[in-house]
Symmetry: C2
Subunit: 84 residues, 2 copies
């Protein structure tokens, strides 16, 4: 793996795992008031399309990371729907 | 452009523009309390690395979309630092 690929790998890892501490906070506080509902909808739709794109291209990394992140965003969305 | 590329293009467009309504909301309410600071730091670091990755690969689309999103995430982070 060359330096550029390593940077890309770290980039993908960071943007994917970033939503984990967010979901932990959201589940603990049970508040997602500061999140824009439109942001959550657009982000979930985008991540779902990345998931489909990865499936069509047989790219397991894209499928796994975007499927995982979409699930985390859905948790934040569900909290917002309950708590406003 | 085939169907798969079109899906990838729409996916990238959605995940990038999703942060726009979020920043509009954050600037209006001046509140980012529900955001995890660690999430913002990891996401900003990841997007910055995607920016560097795009620059190294001479990929203008990756540079532009991730640079733009990193700037939006920085606005949310600055609001959180001010308002807690």
């Amino acid at each position: 793996m060359d330096a550029t690929m390593l940077i890309g790998f770290c980039a993908g890892l960071l943007t994917t795992v970033s939503f984990l501490p967010q979901v932990i906070r959201t589940l603990r506080t049970r508040s997602a008031h500061d999140f824009s509902a439109l942001m959550l909808i657009l982000l979930f739709a985008g991540l779902t399309l990345w998931f489909v794109y990865g499936a069509l291209r047989d790219d397991a990394a894209i499928v796994a990371t975007n499927g995982f992140t979409a699930a985390l965003v859905a948790v934040i969305g569900a909290t917002k729907m309950r708590s406003g």
